[in-house]
Symmetry: C2
Subunit: 349 residues, 2 copies
DNA sequence: CTGAAAGCGCTTACAG
DNA sequence: CTGAAAGCGCTTACAG
């Protein structure tokens, strides 16, 4: 393989001009069947493959979609990335991936790097609010899952999804609930929390008091474990009977805290997550959660990105409640009182 | 921002030729300080950024590294991808990511796509053995973690790492061990298994019989859970006292099977993994495993890829044993006999 | 050390 | 419908 053949080689081989070769390559322009066939023969005879770089330089357009996620190591983002890659592939595009490690400067510089490569478009799962951005970009940008700057957002309907969890827990009889929120500087964190709180408050006003505690953390395991441990290191009577977390990772951390403190889930405590990462179905007990439809989110994001004229509206996709073993009826107060030993302040098995 | 400035604009602004601009850009060639300064001023005055596409076309070289992994959703690969991205960034390169979904055709076509984009180099974590490949490529390719074709491999020293686990389990007194192997068509799967078996066999010959069972599966949770369930659905006396898995995911599946069967880990059963994904430290009990140094693997892979002249030798990095709560001394046979109820064939709590 | 010029491989008005 | 030619933005021998 001395040298890759070029349009020129193909043109010579087929006895046409390079323009004609280019035209059959594009498939758009009209070319006489005879010539078209000769060109195609030449292409396969020579094993010609278009040089995408040259094409990009000429058209200042590529078939690369840039994706920046806060942390590819987070299972939900990994799933999202996998879905975006698949969706991109369906539209004959490739994926360039960058991880911002939750650093907004890194995020900015990755976006710039993508711009320098004149990618076809950029999808960003924001780790910050993306303020202070140079908006005057000619390449389309859209935010996925978490809003970035003023760009259109494709995301789960966080409010609707959080409401599903609130209804589920309230319906099971829980009247003392703790909510482990995500970072307040993320729109997803705020929206999930606000919708959850609003719903529970609504129930409280309509049907009698509900005790709701709120703690803030990051979206990761450690936050969930730490916060749950604090929440649960109290005498049983003053503990919440349900913990709703803003992410599966937090919920799984909470599960571990409960386990360490020998609190039976779901009999003494219900725990719910958010995302439905694949792990949610593998922990013990399996996690009740709300599914974010990653495939659909990704597909819509890619479609919105590639759309002409450029789409500007946000898109919301509803989440769906997945009930598994980590949530159950609120424990009977008398039973709990009977078993607990307030003297030692110990947790019940 | 009507139009991005080009070298030509910079040259005019600075009153030099485009060649000179290019030379100060490259930093290599010698340019008189005065001109260099004028050019740099022009660059910042105009906000010039080099067009990487044009540069790529001219030099047929980019600063993009292509990475193909079998499945980005697998936490170990996600970690590896994150590490490769970081290592690439350290060398001022960007990452293009593709997932082969364990399909060797997809793998091939991703490699071709990377070639078409004239990436700087390709790192592939193989899902197949990568046979039938067009080797006559001018861009460097290296295999990471799992051998791809005949390309140099950077990987954990699977044999050494597997031996660590064998020593650990044998040292704890286990004499009936089950090994859950990875796919036989992966080099990693084969090497881990062979080294483990060889070591245990060695102990058997030197110090008396060791019973070793081997089951094959994929590297995922489900395989581990299914195989462990089979292994453990036997009367306690004929069960292995330790299960060594070829991946953390398998081990975590096994943990769940043990949990479902109410077999106490580590008191009645030891379970070990391989990889040390972040989840290994979060399951209950925390998983004893051997750590694959993802950061170092990634860094070496990238270095090997960028190296001139092109490196050709394989590189091995030792794994390290991480002892946590899932492994413990072999249970005493008499104690086990006392508690077990062979009549019902039930597992002991 | 610097400038003028060729050329990387393509696409696309422009004529015909 | 087709060809000849310009040009995308760079880098790099080639002279001087």
């Amino acid at each position: 393989m001395s040298k890759m053949p070029t349009v020129k080689d193909v043109a010579e081989y087929a006895g046409v001009s390079v323009g004609t070769v280019s035209r059959v390559l594009s498939g758009e322009a009209a070319v006489k069947p005879l010539l078209r066939e000769r060109v195609n023969e030449a292409i396969s005879a020579l094993g010609y493959r278009p040089n995408v770089t040259a094409r990009a330089l000429r058209t200042s357009r590529t078939d690369i979609i840039g994706l920046v996620v806060p942390d590819i190591t987070n299972p939900f983002f990994a799933q999202l990335a996998a879905s975006v890659e698949r969706a991109a592939l369906e539209c004959a595009h490739s994926l360039m991936l960058a991880s911002s490690h939750n650093d907004s400067e890194a995020e900015q510089s990755h976006v710039s790097a993508f711009l320098d490569r004149s990618v076809r478009g950029i999808i960003v799962v924001a780790s910050s609010d993306g303020s202070g951005l140079d908006l005057s970009t000619s390449v389309p940008v859209i935010s996925l899952d978490r809003r970035f700057g003023a760009f259109p957002l494709v995301s789960t309907n966080h409010a609707q999804a959080a409401t599903l969890i609130a209804d589920h827990l309230y319906g099971l009889g829980h009247r003392h609930i703790a909510y482990i929120a995500g970072p307040a500087d993320t729109e997803a964190g705020r929206m999930r929390k606000e919708a959850f709180v609003r719903r529970i408050d609504g129930f409280g006003k309509a049907y009698g008091p509900v005790e709701l505690e709120i703690a803030h953390g990051r979206f990761d395991y450690e936050s969930g474990e730490r916060i749950a441990r604090e929440l649960l290191s109290r005498p049983p009577q003053s503990r919440p009977t349900a913990i709703a977390a803003a992410s599966d990772q937090q919920a799984i951390g909470a599960l571990r805290a409960a386990r360490d403190l020998k609190i039976d889930v779901p009999r003494k405590l219900s725990i719910t997550g958010f995302d439905d990462i694949s792990l949610a179905n593998l922990v013990v007990p399996r996690l009740t959660t709300v599914r974010q439809p990653a495939d659909m989110l990704a597909r819509r994001a890619v479609r919105l990105l590639l759309e002409e004229p450029r789409g500007m509206g946000d898109e919301m996709v509803d989440g769906s409640l997945i009930v598994r073993g980590s949530s159950g009826p609120c424990p009977q107060p008398d039973a709990a009182a009977r078993k607990s030993k307030p003297v030692h302040g110990k947790s019940d098995a």
